[in-house]
Amino acid sequence: MDDSVILRAENIRKVYPGTVALKGVDFNVYKGKVNVLVGENGAGKSTLMKILSGVETPTSGRFFLGEEELNHLTPKSAAEKGIGIIYQELNLFPNMSVAENIFTNREIMKNPGWIDHKTQEEKTKVLLKRLEQDIDPKEMVRNLKVGQQQVVEIAKALAEDVNILIMDEPTSALSKAEVDVLFKIIDELKTAGVSIIYISHRLEELIQIGDYITVLRDGSLITEKPMEEVNLQWIVSSMVGGDSGKIFHSGDRNIGEILLEVKNLGLRGATEEPLLKDVSFSVRKGEVLGIYGLLGAGRSETLETIMGLHEDAAGEILLDGEPLGPPHIRTRIRKGIALVPEDRQREGLVQTMSVSHNLTLAGLWRIVKKKFHINRENESGSVEKMFKGMSIKASTPFVSITSLSGGNQQKVVFGKSLLTNPKVLLLDEPTRGVDVGAKGEIFNIMNDLARDGLAIVLVTSELKEIMAICDRVIILSKGNVTGEFDKDSMTEEALVNASAVGHMTTSQRMKGRVS
């Protein structure tokens, strides 16, 4: 092996309240290569990266950049050493513009004390162009969709002259086209001698882009190998530590009558272009309907409108043939609609509450006596059922929700929706940032629920998930339904083509039709 190690971590330990995240991990970063780090949720990947970028201090252990030992690393000093990071959870200031975010803490100054906004915005424009993204540098980050924010994170890291770039789940919110652009940029960076640390749960991606692979499990190092020596099965089995056959499988379902019918949904956004123009579809009992589309296609907005979040939405929603009535979340939950939102930190969890209280939050009305008294046995019974059913890993239900790993937090959000006893389950990217093991569990649960007669609407960016579990899929593009495929007609190619409809120029569309 003639590749040189640029960054070396030795015996890193990290302890948090309630959990031990890392139990003495060694990690090598090879110069000018893509160093892939994989592991299930809670394996310690994100923690290790936070330590390398100076955000967290390790409880013990040492690390070296070349021959130099790094001590007391802070985010600022790590940046000065050329270590950049793109976080899994977005770390942007929503109240500042794209350009201001990108130049935070290294503002370009005119005279002392004055920020040169013009230069910053020009440089930002160049960066975003390189990422093939049409985002205004002056736009407030809060007005961007999650995927666009992810792009800003990437641009922010690129803006620094990095030697080592850590990417923690950079593609989890990106569409396929955006991932391709990212991979092109990664290749450019490699050629320029930048070492990449790449974390992702999308295993196909890792094989495609990685040079070295390091596997973590439960806070310990399992193995490190060059990528050419391994294949998908090997990665999966070393991550989960053994059996991996049952990732996802969709069983036979009995699809019944129409349960949810959505007619002509429309929704205006902050911009001139409406978020939803005309969305109609229906879901049957026991059916899993996939909604696929690029960023900004209106997928999340469709689910939110069904949930009753948008008071100004147009259109009609029928449940069991009955109109759902005015948009009112509580009423709709009680009528049997439940949503697992896209962003679990911002929309799914109450961080100050325990696991148990988070689980029962949406379904409290089902476990109260005389309408106001929370019955302890009912509550702990529901919580226990979800702990078993979802195999949530927590020492007790009373620990803080923040002490759980991402995948387990997601299971809690999922469990919270199930405890409302829904008829229709709306899932917005339920496997985002979730490891293979938890993903498999979530899909098994979805299968069981569909078999029990629930109607499931699944929004996901992962084609393989759609292919694996959905009975039918509709494609959204720029607020319109641009395609519908059943199990037999869905191919990855057809889905991708339909999702690009509103995005192509007319000539491209003509070409597409001719060929």
């Binding site: 302890v15 948090y16 309240p17 309630g18 959990t19 031990v20 139990k23 409880t59 949930m307 979040l309 979340i329 509580r330 939950i333 009680r334 949503l339 939102p341 911002r346 929309e347 799914g348 969890l349 109450v350 961080q351 100050t352 509450m353 209280h357 029962t360 939050l361 949406a362 409290l364 009305w365 109260v368 106001f372 008294h373 929370i374 919270k416 409302t420």
Partner: protein, 358 residues
């Protein structure tokens, strides 16, 4: 060795978690010694403890309302002014009656009707706070600041700045009995203390055992997630401010009744005492965290501190300095507790590692 360290840490943790209780016990002990030696008075005499509790009830009742407001992530600066205004309304209704110029008559209400009117008024003012915050998106600090000025202004307008004295009422008008709220006792303990205990029990139940309580905590922890879980964020936030208004109105009535007079400046800066009691009791201004039990202990810390310092003859100016230091110490300890939690986990981890190695 490791088990010893672990025990040290867990003992330290328990001490930290009970810090407000410990502070209260320590303060009481210190004042008992100092007051006895310098003044020859028994600080722990039941009568003195009742006097202190009577003072605590004023802060405590307001602080219970404030605690829920802070748990939702808000703040209520109007409580002191509501105390003043409610006192003036009650005083005016007893002293002058309700003058209806159109009919040329004056109505004197029964005392219980007056009390009811005042409590409803407090709830309404809290309701206005809530509507400002939830429907018009005014920041809680600003909305209740506005209400603070408005209520104080009306308190002065009601009498032109004068005091309504002699609120005993008159037999021929049938409005006697107002002083009972301040002077009445059940088994030797003043009504105001009973009211505080009653409110404490009710709010303890609501906060721990009802969906309403759970929802209040959820709103403060993550408003958006609460909303998506079907929590009626706007209504519940409004209810919380209405309850704070209710508590303040109750305090306004108690004070006016105790003094048998209503003065428009009553309750000035009381909002700060209420906030201080809540924070001392472990309520987080970031929202989502806090208990009414803690708040009452916090109110007792402030009460024992003030009364003890008064009995020692410490000047009011120094009392303020000491109160400020105690609040700062409480917040700094709060930070310490968090890092202690982390260390305790590590100790547990090391121990389990050794066990698994053995």
């Amino acid at each position: 060795m490791s088990s010893l360290t672990k025990r040290d840490i867990s003992v330290g943790m328990v001490l930290l978690q009970l810090r407000t209780v410990i502070a209260l016990v320590l303060l009481t002990a210190v004042f008992t010694v100092l007051v006895q030696s310098s003044r020859g008075i028994n600080f722990l005499h039941p009568l003195n403890l009742i006097t202190i509790s009577k003072h605590v009830a004023i802060t405590g009742i307001m602080a219970i309302g404030m605690t829920f407001v802070i748990i939702t992530g808000g703040i209520d600066l109007s409580v002191g002014s509501i105390v003043g205004l409610v006192g003036m309304i009650a005083g005016g209704l007893i002293h002058e009656g309700l003058v209806l110029n159109i009919f040329g008559i004056t109505i004197y209400f029964h005392v219980w009707v007056i009390i009811l009117i005042c409590l409803v008024l407090g709830v309404l003012m809290g309701g206005v706070n809530g509507l400002l915050i939830t429907r018009l998106n005014v920041a809680p600090f600003i909305g209740t600041l506005g209400m603070m000025y408005i209520a104080r202004g009306f308190a002065n307008i009601r009498s032109g700045g004068a005091t309504f004295p002699n609120l005993q009422g008159k037999a021929e008008l049938g409005n006697q009995g107002f002083p009972i709220l301040g002077a009445g006792k059940i088994i030797g303990i003043p009504l105001s203390i009973w009211l505080m205990i009653l409110l404490l029990l009710v709010t303890l139940y609501v906060s721990r055992k009802t969906p309403l309580g759970r929802h209040i905590y959820a709103i403060g922890g993550n408003k958006r997630a609460a909303e998506l879980s079907g929590v009626q964020v706007k209504s519940i936030t409004t209810i919380v401010y209405m309850f704070s208004g209710f508590c303040s109105a109750l305090v306004g009535l108690i004070i006016a009744s105790q003094l048998v007079a209503a003065h428009p400046a009553t309750g000035e800066s009381y909002e700060m005492n209420a906030i201080a009691a809540a924070v001392l009791g472990g309520t987080s201004l970031a929202g989502g965290i806090g208990t009414v039990g803690g708040t009452i202990i916090g109110a007792f810390v402030i009460g024992v501190l003030s009364d003890g310092l008064v009995m020692l003859g410490v000047s009011e100016f120094w009392q303020n300095v000491i109160k400020g230091l105690v609040i700062l110490a409480a917040v700094i300890l709060d930070q310490t507790q968090q890092s202690m939690n982390a260390r305790s986990t590590e100790a547990k981890d090391k121990k389990s590692q050794k066990e698994s190695a053995a």
